[in-house]
C-alpha cells in the first residue's frame, strides 16, 4: 500500500462521512422548515377564527359590521416550534377583507402569515375563506 493509496482512501472516507453528516443536517433543516410551515398555517387559521367572531349583522338596526380590515391590523406573532430553544421565528399576520358580492352580501377574507427561513428566504402561508352576514 503506497502513500498515494492511503491518501486517496482517506479522501474517499472523509467525503463519505461528510455526505452522511450533510444528509443529517439537511433532514433536520427540512424538518424545521416543515414544522414552521405548519405553525404559520396554524397562526393564519387563528386569525381566520378571529374574523369569524367579528359581528356582521345586516338584519339588525342599526346594522353591525365589525368585519372590516381596520379591525384586523397587521400583527407580529411568534411561530410555535418545539426544540428551537431560545431561537424564535417571528411572523407577520396580514388580513385582507374585500366584498365578493353586494347582493347577496358575501365577503372574502384572506389571511397571510409571512415569515422567513433563517432571515433570508421569505415564505407566505395564505388562507382564504368567504363569509356571509350573521354567521
Amino acid at each position: 500500500m503506497t502513500l498515494v493509496e492511503v491518501v486517496i482512501s482517506l479522501g474517499i472516507s472523509v467525503l463519505t462521512i461528510a455526505g452522511i453528516v450533510t444528509g443529517y443536517i439537511y433532514c433536520t433543516t427540512a424538518n424545521v422548515k416543515d414544522s414552521l410551515y405548519m405553525a404559520a398555517n396554524a397562526r393564519a387559521a387563528e386569525r381566520l377564527e378571529e374574523t369569524h367572531s367579528a359581528r356582521w349583522d345586516t338584519s339588525s338596526f342599526p346594522p353591525v359590521d365589525e368585519l372590516v380590515a381596520t379591525n384586523f391590523l397587521p400583527k407580529t406573532v411568534t411561530l410555535d416550534l418545539s426544540g428551537s430553544g431560545s431561537t424564535l421565528t417571528p411572523a407577520t399576520i396580514r388580513t385582507e377583507i374585500s366584498d365578493l358580492s353586494i347582493t347577496p352580501p358575501v365577503r372574502r377574507i384572506r389571511v397571510q402569515c409571512i415569515w422567513s427561513v433563517k432571515g433570508d428566504e421569505l415564505v407566505t402561508n395564505t388562507i382564504e375563506t368567504c363569509r356571509a352576514p350573521d354567521q
Binding site: 462521512i17 452522511i20 443529517y24 416550534l81 418545539s82
Partner: protein
Amino acid sequence: MKLSPNISRSRRAGFTLPEILIALTVFMLLLAGVLSANIFGLRMFQVNSTKLNATEWSRNTFGKITEEVHACAAVQVGNLTNGTFAGLLDGETQRGSGLLIYPTTNVANFTIYFVNAADQTFRRTIGLPSGTNTVILADSITNTLAFSAQDFSGNVLTNAANNRVIHVLLEFYQPERFLLDSDYYKLETSVTRRALQ
C-alpha cells in the same frame, strides 16, 4: 552468515513497525470519523423525533379541540377544582384552567379539557351518563390558565359573549435529557364556535 532465499523473501513480504503504526493511526482516524458521524446522527434523530412528535401531537389535539368547539352547542371557560368544573361568571375575567364543551343540548354529555396543576398534565375528560373517562394528553405543562375567551381583537372578555373566540395556550418545559438540551416552547390556537344560537 548468509540468509537462505526463503527467509529473505518472507522478511521482505512483512510490514515494518512504522507501517503498522501509520496504518493503525489511519484506521483509528477513520473509526473516530465514523463514530462521530453516528453519534451526530443519533442526536439529529432525537431532535427530529421530538420536533415531529410535538408537531403531530399539537396538530391532532388542537385539531380535535377545534372540531369540537366548531360544532358544539355550548362552550364555557372555567376552572376544575377537586374534580368539579366551575364555569366563570359574567363580570369575571374569562380565563381559566378548563374548557367545558357540550356537543349537544344534553348536559349529561360533555367534554372537559383542563390543565392539572398538581402533575402539570393536560387532560381530557369525557362525561357520559354511564360515567366519565379521563385521559392524559400531554405533560410538562407550565402554565395553569390555558384557556381564555376573547373578542376578535384578542382582548380577554369579562362576560360570556356568544361570538367569543376560545384561545388555548399551552406552555411546555422539558428538562435536559440524554442527548437533548432542555426545551421550552408554547402552542397556541384560537377557535370560534360556528353553530350560533
